[in-house]
Amino acid sequence: MQVFGLYNYWVVIILMMIGLYVVIASGNLIKKIVGLNIFQTSVFILYISIGKLDGGTAPILVEGVTSYSNPLPHVLILTAIVVGVATTALGLALAVRIHGAYGSIEEDEIQEQDNAS
């Protein structure tokens, strides 16, 4: 039980590390943004896992139900998702502009051009 009780958090950490790996290893800017998004979703799952309650239901008050999941993480994450897509769009826009200026979205090529000039 002890082991199973932490399983959720471990999967979250694995997902987080996959995201981090993509951000570090990949030289492509768009792939990096996808990695950041994976990382971000894992954080969402972490928060929602914390909010889950044994025997609880969705936090919409109904007569006869006494146990609800924690609504606070839901609020935080719900807004974070929409903010996340907006910031992702901004990141992608930067990548598009970088492609416009350098003709590439690979980190090493951009670095080369910077060094050459």
């Binding site: 790996y21 492509n28 309650l53 936090p59 839901h74 994450i77 807004t79 996340g84 910031t87």
Partner: protein, 316 residues
């Protein structure tokens, strides 16, 4: 479910084909939305399904179309370096989880402070059944105002980077798939349903899962579908970019305006108790207006993000 998520994420990490990686990321988002339902977070699942599996993918594909489809292979040395960093960090984090309360433990610290008040008293204080909505729009109204402003700012930033859609200059060649019969008919069938559903989600958010954020995103996705199938020209006739841009600002103003009105009526900023004859009535009205403001901003920001990507001319 969790294993499926991990497998998808791994596949995304390994793929060099960016197009496939982005599509898989959509599946990953949808899976995580299903996971949120399992964990009783219906409002969150709603948002993730609409945003992650819908709009985020469209924007990523838009960015891909403007750049390149394939990434260069990762050099070996870099691969091992990244892997070692990740393994060490992961091990440290897993060591950290050993002190965490068990999953779904009712006595976890997160459930003991503030939240009991939200669950037990929000019915008397706010008077609406969906606790997520009352926390979002009333107890934590400041946070939500801030987040709405962030979305608005991000939209402004993207428009600033990619430029404004020139009036009446949207070429006939931009997008448009009218000649696909099935796509056209399906889109026509789906559009009214999506729009009505968005409105339902917007105005029923007090009682069931839903609210301004979800409704805004769903509403925007209807316009994006229209734009994708019938071309930019038709969608900009229905929703001119100027109007959409000003709506994004108007939504924020509605939200902040409600706060100012409550200030003028002699209570705190964003405290809706005095807006009606009795506190719960005031709360209802306040939350309704605030959610409306959020919905308008989110929808308008998402649509203008789409416009910005769709009409950006690649520099030669």
């Amino acid at each position: 479910m969790l294993s499926l998520l991990t497998a998808t994420a791994l596949a995304v990490a390994r793929l060099d084909q960016l197009f496939a990686a982005v599509m898989l990321f959509g599946i990953y988002s949808l899976l995580s939305a299903a996971l949120f339902v399992v964990m009783d977070a219906v409002d969150v699942a709603f948002t993730e399904a609409a945003v992650g599996a819908g709009i985020a993918i469209i924007l990523m594909l838009g960015a891909l179309a403007l750049t390149s489809h394939k990434q260069h292979p990762v050099p070996r040395s870099r691969h091992w370096m990244a892997l070692s960093v990740v393994v060490i960090t992961g091990a440290a984090l897993i060591y950290g989880t050993l002190d965490m309360p068990l999953y779904a433990d009712p006595n976890a610290p997160a459930h003991l402070h503030v939240v009991p008040r939200y669950l037990q008293q929000s019915m008397q204080e706010i008077g609406i059944p969906n606790v997520v909505t009352s926390v979002l729009a009333s107890y934590r109204g400041y946070d939500t105002l801030g987040e709405t402003v962030v979305i608005f700012t991000a939209a402004v930033g993207v428009i600033g980077r990619l430029g404004i859609v020139p009036e009446g200059k949207v070429g006939p060649k931009t997008g448009g798939m009218e000649h696909h019969l099935i796509l056209r008919i399906t889109a026509k069938l789906m559009l009214p349903v999506i729009l009505v559903f968005a409105l339902y989600v917007q105005f029923h958010g007090d009682f069931g899962p839903g609210g301004g954020f979800q409704a805004g995103v769903i509403f925007a996705s209807a316009f994006i579908l229209y734009g994708l199938v019938f071309g930019m020209e038709s969608v900009t006739t229905v929703a001119p970019p100027v109007v959409v841009r000003s709506l994004a600002a108007i939504g924020v103003l509605i939200y902040a305006g409600v706060g100012v009105v409550s200030l003028l009526m002699g209570s705190n900023f964003l405290d809706y108790n005095l807006l009606g004859h009795e506190p719960t009535h005031g709360q209802h009205l306040g939350i309704f207006l605030v959610e409306f403001g959020v919905g308008v901003t989110v929808a308008a920001s998402m649509i203008s993000l789409f416009y910005a990507y769709a009409s950006y001319q690649r520099e030669k």
